[in-house]
Amino acid sequence: MPDATGLELIAQDLRDAEADSVLDTVYFREQAALLVAPAAVPAVLEHLRGRGYGFLASVHGVDYFPEEPRLGVHYELLDMHEVDRISVRTRVPLADPHVPSVTLAWPTADHQEREVFDMFGVIFDGHPDLRRILMPEDYEGFPQRRDFPMGGEPVLFTHNETQTPAWWE
């Protein structure tokens, strides 16, 4: 992990390159994170790749309900040579959940962005194949959102199939 000073230096470099790209820095339990504007995500990741963080370990979706902007996307970057990790985080409002896709630059993000779209409804602009990945194609709603209810999925058995009209369609 870059220490707190190193994190600020990276943030300053990014701000020099583009003024409003880095909104905040978080240093928690020796883990460094940059909070960036959604539009700046590809540029920030590319800058960090130039600094050696060449491996995108993971992409997570988060729902910050009830805070706004509600939806978050986290990118965990790893520098395999210096053995160093940094997290890039962005937040988008529920009304306009658009984040530029990084799939073309980081092929590993393909399935992971699809998972975030599937579970949270974040739309990754420019993703070549943005479809649901874990839930069925015709599923309605985004199950990992905090206001999505637990359970309540009707299970089809022979005894209740007449109560589930047109299930065969």
Binding site: R29, Q31, M119, I133, P143
Partner: protein, 421 residues
Amino acid sequence: MSEVDTGRESLTPEIGYREMEESYDVSHIAHPENDELLTINFGPHHPATHGVLRLLATLEGEFVRDIKPIIGYVHTGIEKTAEDKAYWKAIPVMERMDYLAYYFNAMAYCGAVETILDLEVPPRAQYLRVIHMELNRIMSHLVWLGTTALDLGAISMFWYCFRDREQILDLFEMSSGQRMHTRYFQVGGVFEDIPVGWEEKVRKFVAIMPDRVDQFLALLMKNEIALQRLRNVGGVDEQTLLDLGVTGPLLRATGNPWDLRKAEPYCSYEDFEFRIPVGTTGDNWDRMVVRMMEMKESVRIIDQAMQGLPEGPYITDNRKYALPPRHELATSMEALIHHFKLVTEGFRVPPGEVYYPIESPRGEMGVFLRADGSSKPARVHMRDPSFVNLQAMRPMSKDLYIADFIATLGMLDPVLGGIDR
């Protein structure tokens, strides 16, 4: 025409693509006028997919030209379920994700919670965790070896591997009460100290296992069929794998010695001496040998951890996070209150977000945890290695025979419980 133009640079130019198959005339495939593509469903209920994995395979004759994985058939919403449980009550559901690496799931999750809590884990607990994780790694690799060899037609491997796997499961049953999904790892340590006689049983296993690995290697390494089926098949270069986020034995088979146990030691791994097996070309053969050698190194780690097992508590004595010992409940009001609070509400975790990666048998298994100050996690996300590694199936299986494609899928070692979660 003896060579098929795969459109990419061969990893071993001197041998060429499937030179041993020279007698098979594939000249008609090379002619564009005879091109005939056929798209079929492979799975979800195919025994060689090691679970309910569905692959949309585009074939040209007997060659696989394209692969599209379709997943989600065993999606059970574990991450959502965990959000509705107290931190320590979510451990059992987390363990059921990657059902061959349950100790690793529990370790990644408990490690993330401990990181947010800033909780110290006693050394004895760390060593016990290491012993169980390495036993689990051997167990997972044995299941992989048995089933993959079965796909290659070597049925006897399956029996030998499962015989040794049973020994490990017996050890788990003795130390933690269950064969699988043991819930042995707790936040702050492990559930119980090891029982009398367990150490001796582990020593017996440690003494026998390296020979067993040698036997497996002898069965396969000198086997003409296995050699022909695996060597120079399905190789992918290191950079493609890195771009696709692949970690674990698949990456190490290409010669990149990336292993989180060495690179970012967690849970006292820095105390042990072990090597990281790497391959050279990254073909299916290397993938197999790397895993076999990993089993041997795991045995070394278990041996060292047993030798140096420290005395002391097996779980943190911070009563806010760990259950008090049973005998205290009868005498101490304080212990009773703590017990009641933990069992009803659970403990509260300060707000924060951490990512805690460990090295599972399949690669980097990370848990992202967001705590909002309540007693239930606000978001748990498992970065499962199978899920990410599955994306490498496409470059790995391009332009292979269907039969080799089955072998390559086995070498990928996907666990669908981890992919779909």
